[in-house]
């Protein structure tokens, strides 16, 4: 596969929580580059900094030091370089949640369409795109259902549809397959790969799930906040 644009470029990123005796160094001197079309896994024992790194890339957490460039745009260099981080997330980043976190008061379709609504799409176009994505993820028949009525797998796919709705080029997922059986987990990963290729996006997934390790282009190991080459 031809190498795509660099979508994520993390240089010298460190993050610590607390000070003095309670200080925890969650990330130390992390460098990471991810290109379009890549599907990579973040691995490591619990507490090794995987979620922290994902949050830094997702602009949810400010690093203590370092530089972050997303889709060619420098967003962090010692401090945030953009004030409207939410707009940045809306346009560039899709999150697939561990607990899928759909809004309980919206239907499956609305949960997807709300992202497009926020991004300024006309309502009918947003609905059509939401429909199309749900069909594509084979949950089109559940479009009018509220999240409480969806099975775990259905809810996860709706959440994926929501993450993809505004065609972000960076998709971040924290254990997206934890709640799924291995067959469904494999299907979700195939799907993510297909999307990465089609939309020229990159996918960074935290996972413990050895069954799906072979589906990734790269496995990145974290230990005590440092990248450890496998």
């Amino acid at each position: 596969m031809a190498l795509g644009d660099i979508l994520i470029e993390v240089t010298g990123v460190a993050k610590h929580f607390g000070e003095g005796p309670t200080r925890v160094d969650a990330l130390r001197e992390v460098d990471l580059t991810v290109r379009a079309g890549e599907v990579i896994a973040l691995l490591g024992p619990s507490g090794s900094g995987k979620t922290t790194l994902l949050n830094v890339i997702g602009c949810i957490l400010a690093p203590s030091a370092g530089r972050v460039v997303l889709d060619g745009e420098p967003v962090f260099d010692g401090k945030w370089l953009r004030r409207d981080l939410r707009r940045l997330r809306l346009d560039k980043i899709g999150f697939i949640f561990q607990a899928h976190n759909l809004l309980p008061f919206l239907t499956a379709e609305e949960n997807v369409a709300v992202v497009l609504d926020l991004a300024g799409w006309p309502p009918d176009k947003g609905r059509a795109r939401a429909r199309e994505l749900l069909e594509y993820l084979e949950v089109g028949h559940r479009a009018p259902a509220k999240p409480a009525l969806l099975s775990g797998g259905e809810a996860q796919r709706v959440a994926i549809a929501r993450a993809l709705a505004n065609r972000p080029r960076i998709i971040l997922a924290d254990e997206p397959t934890a709640a799924l059986d291995s067959k469904r987990a494999g299907l979700v990963m195939d799907l993510l790969r297909k999307l990465a290729t089609e939309q020229e996006a990159c996918i960074v997934t935290v996972t413990h799930d050895e069954k799906i390790f072979d589906r990734f282009d790269r496995l990145i190991h974290l230990r005590d906040g440092r990248l450890a080459d496998a």
Binding site: T51, L61, R86, R87, R89
Partner: protein, 377 residues
């Protein structure tokens, strides 16, 4: 996509119940305002009824409502001849108990001179008093109907007409009789008692007195001049209509008014706290969803809109339910409940402000929420 409405629809039953609860609270608030107004209106109704410009009363008294006043009936002739006076009438007020339909009826009997100021202005049903004896016009609240008879003192009176909203400050409904009848009720004892008195050689009949003489002025005439003229008589005093109303508010209804006013203040405070609590809780329950919204990129404006719109819908429906309820039940209150559109608007303003302020609390909490909390699992 309106998130506020979608969320309300999602938990509709609970939201409606909350609105209804708030509505009941608003009903009580409005009832209290209505009772307060009713108290003032009732108190002033009796003073305003004769449409007087000047009240001539006993010297040194603040009669005839705040204090007892008695002056000779012929004062009226003197007042009528004074400069600028268009019409004058002597008037009496007495609280009487009569029995009607098997129960004791407390009435506020107003005696006035036929064809002179002081009688009922607007007859709601039947007619005004036409003959000088044994007819009466009653307030509807007495429960009397046109054609009924009522025994007052030694005589039976027939009800010829009904009026509305004529009660004294204690809430007793008024009955109008002629001055002659009122004086005879006042002075004539029942026959047995009169015989005993006569046997003792007492003077058989007390000298009749009236409570006040009311005067209406000719257009443009000087009220101050009349008041000054009346005060030259050693035994008379005079009050203008405005003084009389002020006096009544200060002396008679002031305590009750302060009591209700204080209660109303407490109620409004309680309502404000309840509204704030409901809205704050509503927001706190949604913090995780708000974190999710932030994570997917919703701007503050969307989140503030969600909270503020729900708060305003809640407050607005509570207010509307309260208003609808009080308008439905207000005539079933034993005392007059009077609501002006102004009161409802002021309450709406207060509710609006409270809702905005308490959604401000919720908004503050929502703004502080870290989008990362949505990721936790």
């Amino acid at each position: 996509m309106n998130l506020a409405l979608k969320d309300i629809r999602h938990g509709l039953f609970r939201f409606v119940l909350t609105c209804f609860g708030l509505g009941l609270l608003m009903t009580v608030v409005l009832a209290m305002i209505g009772i307060y107004n009713g108290l003032v209106a009732d108190a002033l109704a009796i003073v305003k009824a004769p449409a007087a410009d000047v009240w001539v009363v006993e010297a040194g008294t603040q009669g005839p409502f705040a204090e007892a006043s008695s002056i000779p009936p012929d004062t009226r002739d003197a007042v009528a001849r004074m400069p600028g006076v268009a019409a004058a009438g002597a008037i009496t007020y007495q609280t009487l108990e009569a029995s009607h339909a098997g129960r004791t009826l407390r009435v506020y009997a107003i005696g006035y001179e036929l064809g002179r100021p002081g009688g009922p202005e607007q007859i709601a049903e039947g007619r005004g008093i036409a003959t000088s004896h044994f007819e009466l016009v009653a307030d509807r609240k007495t429960g009397l109907l046109v054609g009924d008879t009522l025994r007052l003192g030694r005589d039976r009176y027939s009800v010829v007409g009904l009026v509305e909203d004529a009660t004294n400050t204690g809430g007793d409904p008024a009955v109008y009789v002629t001055l002659a009848d009122a004086l005879s009720i006042q002075t004539k004892l029942d026959p047995a008692a009169a015989r005993v008195q006569a046997a003792r050689g007492a003077e058989p009949v007390k000298r009749p007195t009236v409570a006040a003489v009311i005067a209406r002025m000719e257009p443009g005439a000087d009220v101050g001049l009349l008041v000054a003229t009346v005060r030259q008589w050693k035994h008379l005093g005079a009050l203008t209509e405005a003084e009389q109303e002020e006096l009544l508010l200060v002396s008679v209804v002031d305590k009750a008014r302060r009591q209700i006013g204080l209660f109303l203040g407490i109620l409004l405070t309680v309502s404000a706290v309840v509204i704030a609590l409901i809205i704050y809780t509503m927001t706190m329950e949604k913090l995780k969803q708000i974190a999710t919204l932030k994570l997917i990129g919703a701007p503050d404006r969307t989140i503030i809109g969600l909270i503020v719109q729900q708060a305003l819908i809640l407050g607005g429906s509570g207010w509307a339910i309260g208003l609808a309820l009080i308008l439905t039940v207000k005539d079933n209150f034993p005392r007059r409940v009077e609501l002006e559109p102004f009161n409802a608007i002021v309450l709406a303003g207060i509710v609006f402000a409270v809702c905005l302020a308490s959604s401000g609390l919720g908004v503050r909490a929502a703004m502080k929420v870290d989008p990362a909390t949505a990721l936790g699992g």
